[in-house]
């Protein structure tokens, strides 16, 4: 039985939303499409699972409109594991987000992997008790999402490819832009905010603190233990792995290896050991071979 807290206690605050993301740091969040995969992820030491109907590699292969998962499927995963469960809503689809919140999901990913529902606006995330994570390719995009209420940011990378190059580019871009703001004079920040199309107050906060006001994970194309460890060394707070695990030859072993490599991201001996005999990685697609209009990272505004 759970305790119901009321009276002078407050739920859904900025601090408990951002704090939840703090607790996920150093961990691996894995895409799963059914309860069996969710159990494999949990047993491997995943910090959370992302419930979705098709992993990005299949969304890419099958095409069509991609939407929120069936509530039965999300509920099945919530019932199967005791770690936090996340689920994806389409960009701008606030009713999908309301439905996911009502299911008791712990975090919503307003995700470019699904087909956008609104090509102008993202969801007003302040209107929810459940926290949101959003993708970003650069600092301006990250701060626009935070301004809309996102409590966690992840690099977009290029989902469903197994090609880590875009995740690298997005992490490097965000970090470089943070460093640039930190080196600026106070009176230069007005124009900087205009240039990156981000709210001035958030630009000032980033310039002062030298980091985002929320946790920054990496996502999009991470397929191997070395990929995960590289992103951690580049300053990611944690790792999302989408298609990389359950599209590989031996998901349980690869899931375990990526978790260990993320924990010991500075220890090449450990990364080497867990990388041995993992079998086939997901086949993958070079991002350069995907026409720009078909790149998921281009979604978001």
């Amino acid at each position: 039985m759970t305790s119901n807290v009321s009276n002078n206690a407050v739920t859904g605050t900025d601090r408990v939303k951002r704090g939840m993301a703090d607790m996920l740091k150093g961990g691996v969040i894995m895409d799963v499409v059914n309860a069996e995969q969710a159990k494999i992820a949990e047993d491997a030491g995943a910090i959370a699972v992302m419930a979705l109907e098709r992993v990005p590699a299949d969304i890419r292969a099958e095409g069509g409109v991609s939407r929120m998962s069936d509530p039965d499927m999300i509920q099945g995963i919530i019932d199967a594991v005791s770690i936090p469960v996340m689920a994806k809503a389409r960009i701008g689809h606030f009713v999908e987000a309301q439905v996911i919140q009502s299911l008791g999901v712990d975090y919503i990913d307003e995700s470019e992997v699904l087909t956008p529902a609104d090509y102008t606006h993202h969801i007003d995330k302040w209107a929810f008790t459940v926290p949101f994570v959003c993708g970003a390719t650069n600092l301006g995009e990250a701060l626009r999402r935070i301004n809309e209420g996102a409590a966690m940011i992840r690099s977009k990378g290029e989902a469903g490819t197994g090609d880590v190059s875009n995740a690298v580019m997005h992490m490097r871009t965000i970090r470089a832009e943070i460093n640039r703001l930190s080196s600026m004079a106070e009176d230069e920040l007005y124009v900087a905010a205009k240039e990156i199309q981000a709210p001035y107050d958030l630009v000032v906060e980033v310039a002062r603190n030298g980091k985002l006001p929320v946790v920054l994970f990496t996502a999009g194309g991470i397929a191997t233990p070395a990929d995960a460890a590289m992103m951690m060394q580049m300053g990611a707070d944690g790792v999302f792995v989408g298609s990389g695990i359950f599209k590989s030859g031996n998901p349980a072993q690869r899931a375990n290896a990526i978790v260990q490599a993320t924990m010991h991201y500075e220890d090449a001996d450990v990364i080497a050991n867990v990388s041995r005999g993992l079998g086939e990685a997901m086949v993958g697609i070079n991002v350069a071979d995907i026409p720009v209009p078909h790149r998921l990272a281009e979604r978001g505004w």
């Binding site: 759970t2 739920t11 703090d22």
Partner: protein, 204 residues
């Protein structure tokens, strides 16, 4: 202890950085530790917030429970917040069947006792051990202490009046050199809980 103590923060996963900042701001040396070797030069250990089942799985895989329990038996002060409270409890309910803990607190910790993330909350708590000013506490998918043994001191409870429950809910405890809170002082700017733990480390 006359020299400045060095306190390790167990860095399997979780909000390690926030504890290191809180400890450093409180005037001690703070380091992230995640191997048996790195445990050697510390005077106290903080087990951070995070996901207790993940910490348990990874502590088993990395053979960390044996050295951690040995350190505790030798009297090393330990403090755990949230998932750390679970890691320092002798018994856990609503966790994994194979979940292990370091132990040290003769309590039953009930995992996710307040519900899922949408039920996470903030509240002002009276904690006499750190003074008269209430502590603003953040509970995130938090555990509570469902029962305590005879040697466990209760440091704080959520009064029944603040909940729909019939009894107070224990959320901070101490037994000898081991203390734990259901909530997360490390993600606030109030250092009094960390200072209380540092006093235990200095006295040991």
């Amino acid at each position: 202890m006359s020299k400045t103590p060095t306190i390790g923060v167990l860095a399997i996963q979780g909000d390690v950085r926030e504890h290191i900042r809180a400890l450093s701001d409180s005037g001690v040396n703070a380091v992230a530790v995640k191997t048996a070797k790195s445990f050697e030069n510390i005077d106290g250990l903080v087990v951070p917030g995070g996901e207790s089942t993940t910490m348990s799985i990874l502590a088993i895989k990395n053979d960390l429970f044996k050295p951690l329990r040995a350190m505790q038996q030798q009297g090393m002060p330990m403090y755990g917040s949230c998932a750390g409270l679970i890691m320092l409890s002798n018994t856990v309910t609503d966790g994994r069947a194979d979940q292990e803990t370091i132990g040290g607190l003769d309590i039953i910790a009930q995992r996710n006792a307040f519900g899922r993330q949408v039920d996470s909350f903030e509240i002002d708590l009276d904690i006499p051990a750190i003074g008269d000013v209430p502590f603003h506490a953040l509970f995130i998918r938090a555990p509570l202490v469902a029962s305590i043994g005879p040697d466990v001191e209760v440091l704080a409870s959520i009064p029944a009046a603040a909940t729909n429950d019939e009894t107070d809910r224990i959320v901070a405890v101490r037994q000898g050199n081991v203390m734990a809170t259901s909530f997360h002082p490390e993600i606030t700017d109030d250092l009094r809980i960390h200072q209380l733990f540092i006093d235990i480390v200095r006295a040991s």
